[in-house]
Subunit: 268 residues, 2 copies
């Protein structure tokens, strides 16, 4: 048993969808969350830059004495997980592998769509992972860079969201995919619009949910589940002004976030 | 006379619209351009963070021995120009004041719309500046956070752009503004869509053009125009991978950009 907290990081606020799933599946665990809001987004940036930022996030979380780390950002998982596992001596879990596994298991016709940021899609991380699980899979990745901002503006159920989705998803519909991986932490919030455009018959895979399941598994295997019985402690850190995080983050978690501290991540 | 270069910075690539106007109005000047592509965008971040980033950009340009600095980013101009003028001993020109002056001069009914990033609009920088020039002006600011990504995706002439513009600009149309300030360096690329939505009768103000005019004026007043006769030198620096900048920047300038160097802006 290990009562130290789990560390979770994301380029900003989107990773709270992962935190939410983790708290539901691992309700006794303490958590330290870091959102790199001063440098958000990662999805349009180069591998070198995303690796540098991710390593800084991991070092910060390690300084908070975490026992394991979840990379709640799809871009960072795609671009930095492998290198992070080689570099740091602590269990690190990304969102790609759990999402890919679930998609592979769900798909009946072997045609799987993946949507995400430009960085995630261009990295081919999901595509490679799914094909490794099942060689015959046909995986089509589409970058949907507008979706993050649409969600941040609260426009997920508007005409703008629907028409953008129709444009982005056209190719996936024509290829008759039966499973769609929501490869960006913001996208589950577009679930209603995505279902409307893709049709009820297409399964949506939310890697946040799958990642929390995987995290539970790994903590068990490593014998480091928490033995705490009192109320778990969740601490939040960000690199820009905490106020926006408090407001939008509160909406994602459906509860108030108190205690958010600002960190100068560039100069730790 | 002063043959040292002019420094220009922006959060990324958008400031090249300002550089383009400067090279047309000041064709003999050497230029050092810096695009903070590793931390783009500034428009969603706090004043404190934008100030910190802007000061780092200015320090970098000063290390390149520039004689004057143009803040080509609306958000940075709105949030950091005043403080930068107090802190640095070099002429520094922002895009807000020139844009506001032009809008005030153009408007006949005194009703002026300003569109920009959330940071620029919430700072009220344009609104205050225009009202200072003419107290009776009615100025309405609207944040259009989706527009930057729409332009970066090349979607400026699509249905998505038109419907987003109709949603954002509704209030301005109802208020019958006769002048619209394009308060973000990306927005001139949306000119066609904006004109279609606002109607031909509404004047669009491009602060990039006005800023280049102002820069010429200020160099003259300070007696620091270049006396060079040979071909001017333009150097480009970015904080993330130069490749994307080369590709999209080349489209904005309608010519190839060679020599782009990467700078570790966080650790100078």
């Amino acid at each position: 048993m290990d009562n130290r907290p789990i560390g979770i990081f994301d380029s900003g606020i989107g990773g709270l969808t992962v935190l939410k799933e983790v708290t539901e599946q691992l309700p006794n665990e303490d958590i330290v969350y870091f959102g790199d809001t001063a440098r958000i987004p990662y999805g349009t940036k180069s591998k070198e830059t995303v690796m540098k930022y991710s390593f800084q996030c991991i070092k910060f979380l390690l300084s908070k004495n975490v026992k394991a780390i979840i990379i709640a950002c799809n871009t960072a998982s795609a671009m930095a997980l492998k290198e992070a596992l080689e570099h740091f001596d602590v269990p690190i879990i990304g969102v790609i592998e759990p999402g890919a596994k679930a998609a592979s298991a769900k798909s009946k016709n072997g045609k799987i769509g993946v949507i995400g940021t430009t960085g995630t899609i261009n990295s081919e991380a999901y595509q490679k992972e799914i094909r490794e699980l099942k060689k015959s899979s046909e995986v089509i990745g589409v970058a949907c860079p507008l979706f993050v901002q649409i969600v941040e503006d609260g426009w997920q159920d508007t005409d703008v969201a629907r028409i953008a989705a129709e444009k982005y998803l056209l190719d996936l519909k024509e290829h008759n995919v039966d499973t769609l991986v929501l490869g960006c932490t913001h996208y589950p919030i577009l679930r209603y619009t995505l279902t409307k455009v893709m049709g009820e018959g297409v399964s949506l895979v939310n890697p946040a949910f799958e990642t929390a399941k995987e995290a539970k598994q790994i903590l068990k295997q490593n014998n480091i589940l928490s033995g705490k019985v009192d109320k778990p402690i969740h601490c939040y850190y960000v690199s820009d002004d905490p106020e926006k995080f408090r407001r939008i983050g509160g909406n994602i978690l459906n509860r108030n976030i108190h205690e958010i501290k600002k960190v100068d991540i560039e100069n730790l």
